[in-house]
Every structure is written in C-alpha cells, then in structure tokens.
Symmetry: C2
Subunit: 282 residues, 2 copies
Amino acid sequence: MKTITYQGVEGAFSYLTALKEFGEKNHFRSAQTFKEMFELVRNGEADAAVVPIENSLVGSIYENYDLINQYDMHIIAEHYTKIEHCLLSYPSNEVKSERLKQIKRVLSHPKALEQCSHFFQGHLWMEAVVYMDTAAAAKKIAILKDPSCAAIASAYAGELYGLDILAEKIEDDPRNYTRFVIATQKGSFDYQADKCSLLLQLKHTPGALVEGLKEFSIEGINLTKIESRPLRGSLFEYEFYIDFEFKGRNMREVEQVFNKLHEKVNKLTVLGFYKKGILWTS
Amino acid sequence: MKTITYQGVEGAFSYLTALKEFGEKNHFRSAQTFKEMFELVRNGEADAAVVPIENSLVGSIYENYDLINQYDMHIIAEHYTKIEHCLLSYPSNEVKSERLKQIKRVLSHPKALEQCSHFFQGHLWMEAVVYMDTAAAAKKIAILKDPSCAAIASAYAGELYGLDILAEKIEDDPRNYTRFVIATQKGSFDYQADKCSLLLQLKHTPGALVEGLKEFSIEGINLTKIESRPLRGSLFEYEFYIDFEFKGRNMREVEQVFNKLHEKVNKLTVLGFYKKGILWTS
C-alpha cells in the first residue's frame, strides 16, 4: 500500500485522479496547499503527489512546475481528467424543476462559477457565491441541508457527500480538462516511458530556440508542448517548458538528442520520463 | 476624449493600467466580464479595451486570446503592470502594530490571498476570506468601517477608497506582473509598432514548428513568446501563440516573413502590431 497525497478535500478533481491512478486500496492523504504535498513526499510521509500541471482553459500551472523543480522530484505518469460541473443540492422528494426554482445561492470556486456563466444566465434567480474549493462547497451543502443553497462540483463529490444532481455538464465550454502528473522522489517507482518533460534555458543568441528544436525534428521526435516563460527577475529572458513523445525509440536515442542539446543550451533539466496519458472523464 | 473599458471595479489593476495608458482626461467604463468589454468595443460604446493577456505567475489568459480572435479585434499596445499587494484597513489613530493585532478577517480575491501566504503564516490570527475582486474587497472595507476586517489590494485602491496601508509588498513572490494589451476595432487608432502577436496553426507534419520558426531566425527576428495550446476538441493538435519584435526593420520585411510562413502553416492570424511595452509599478 502506498500513500498518495493530493491537494484539496475528498471529492476534488485531484482526489478523483489519485483514485483512478492508484486504486482504492492505497492510502490517500489530503494536503492544504501544493507545497505541503511536496513536503510530504520529500519527508517520506507520502510516496507520490498528484499534481495539476496544466488546464485546457487556464493554461500551465507555473507554481507546480516550480515546485517539481525546487523539490527535485521526478514525473512518473500523467493523466488528463475531464472537468465536468454539476449543480448539487441536499436530497429531497420534490421534483427537480421545483427545487431548481428554490435555489437562491450557489457555492463554488470562483473559476468553476465563471466556467458556468451560461447556466447562471439561464437561471437569473440564483446568486453565485465564492467558495474556496468545489468539493468543499459540496461538503458545506451536505452540512447546511438548506434547499435554497446548492454547490457546483463534480458528480463524484455529489455522490461522496450524499447530494442530488439537479443539473449536469453545466460548464460553458466542454473543452475543459486538467493535466495531472504524478511526482515522486527520484528512483522510487518502476515504470515504462514514452514521453518526457524538459525545462530548457537557452543561450542569448538569435535563433537559439530553432537551433535547439532542430535536434528533435532531425530525429523525427514530436513535441507536444512548448511554452516560454520569463525567467525570475527578468522580463526579457526566458525558460522553456518542452514535452515530447519518443514512442518506438529507445532511451539511448533520446540521450543522444540530450547530448547535442547540452551544447546548445545554458541549462537542461529533465522533469521526468513517463507514459503518455489518456483522457479520463470524472 | 475616448471611452476606455476595463474589467472590474475602480482601483482594480486593469483600471490602473487604463489610467496610465490613456490619462485621466478620458472616460473609463467598467465591465463586469471580459466578454462585456469586447461587446462594448464592437458596439462602438467604447473605443478600446484594457485586456489582461498573461501574468508572470499564472501564465496566459486563454479566454482573452479567444475573445480578441472571436471579436476580430486588433492589439495596438501592450503594458506590463507590477502587481503589488497591500494590507488595507479603515483609518484610525491607533498605532499600526496594535491595529494589525485586531484584524481577524482579510478579504481578497483567492489568487491574491494565495500570493500572500507567507504574510498569513506570519500573522496566524488573521483568517483569509475569499472575495470576488481585490479592489471590490477594498471598497467593502471602506463600507464596513470595522477594525477587525481588512482587504488585500493595490495601494491605489487603498487611496481611492480612503483606507490606510498597514503593510505593503506582502506578496510572496515579487516577480508578479500582468501583461495587458489594448484591443480596438481594426484601423481605429494610429500608432508606431515594433512588436507583433500571431496565432499559428501548423501543418501536421514532423518538424512543422521548426520549419515555421526558421523563417524568423533566418531574418534575425527575435521571438519573445511561444506557447502551444491544444485546439478546441482535440487533446493532440495544437495552435501556437507567438510574439516577436522587429525593431529596426520595416513592415515590408515582416510581410515577407509572413508570405513564407503562409506556405508552411495551415492558418496565420495577426492579432496586432504594437509598440513593445515597459514595466509599470502600481
């Protein structure tokens, strides 16, 4: 049995991803902040952390890229979790249409409220109320037992806290998924890999990026992510997040690309080797 | 006099940026949502919108990239605004150290609360309370007049709502700035440009990215941003946000790069030509 840490309360999308990745027989430990997860893994109190790294609507989560790097962790897996929002209320025998009319306040994380703006436009009598977390909002509704209050959270959170689903898939944009990675101390898991995440700091010469990327295209290796980010304390110098897939190639070929890259960049940090993820719905 | 729209309440960082860009003699119109800003510009009710496009800690704001594209707007300027958070309270004659001890609740946007986590760790008697907006939290404190409540917002918001600054620069990471762009209907302003933002959709061939970027490096043109983003409805196809500077070159040279790029990409959308921005502190 392994101890897996995730940020948030039970029923959060991070928790769901942890469950799907590791299965129920493991021990799941909640952390209040992202940083706390990394502390737990470093101290040996957890074997792995489930870390949201990017979302299709809001982009990369830089804080977690920084933490993986600072804590010298290694990515061993990735997972795409579909974010689907439901309107959840305390159970009652009344018909759903009547119950919808009674709802005055809807609690959720501000991002989730924002992502359901069309729903609120169609239900103008409901007020969106900001709450710290989607699953925490569901938990609160279970405690309040108030038919005039509801939460926006996952169907799973609704089930966990014994709530009814009054409306489902109420997000404006169905293209909403979060990419999670599993971060561990180096060498603590065995696994097969066909994808890699890198952090590159380039030399300050024109065309340095093209020169570096060429090493991948020469080998026919496909990049799946590239993102520039200003370096700390500097508006006009950058580091690059790069992901690539190397299915059908062995590690030696990848290492050869790295050897050539080393000559062309200031710094190359491997964040992890892992198996390419699939999309899961919650 | 021009009408400039911004999202949020008076005193928000968007409002500050609008003031600094256009000066006090213009008319500033608040919008509740980003989308509302674009509607106002399209309908001719506003001449320009002040649009946050990326933040150094949270990354690109995809929603606004989408809106610029959907509403067929043009970027005519960019500005980097430093985000500095202050603890603000209703004025009183007591000494600051005593007033700090009395504070039980601190209202702000969840991102701002999160960005001041070290401050809360050093002031454990204060509870962070989620609010929709930093400047709106400051406004609320001015109405409450309660010495046990404070807000986290800009120094400017404190001044605007007549609050005292009890602590300043309380953010954990000083590398916190937001890049704003000014978006207008095409052809509605005259200006000088040395920077450009592009949206590229590549052909699905290996090395397509390197092939495209080569056209810039051949000309010695420096990219200042590159970011892949999954295309709507697809996990594994991407579009690219690209910014580049072309100081010392004329538009004809830039157009030649575009002509060559057109052959190599599926779609090239120019989001705007504008003058490279400077960093402003609030």
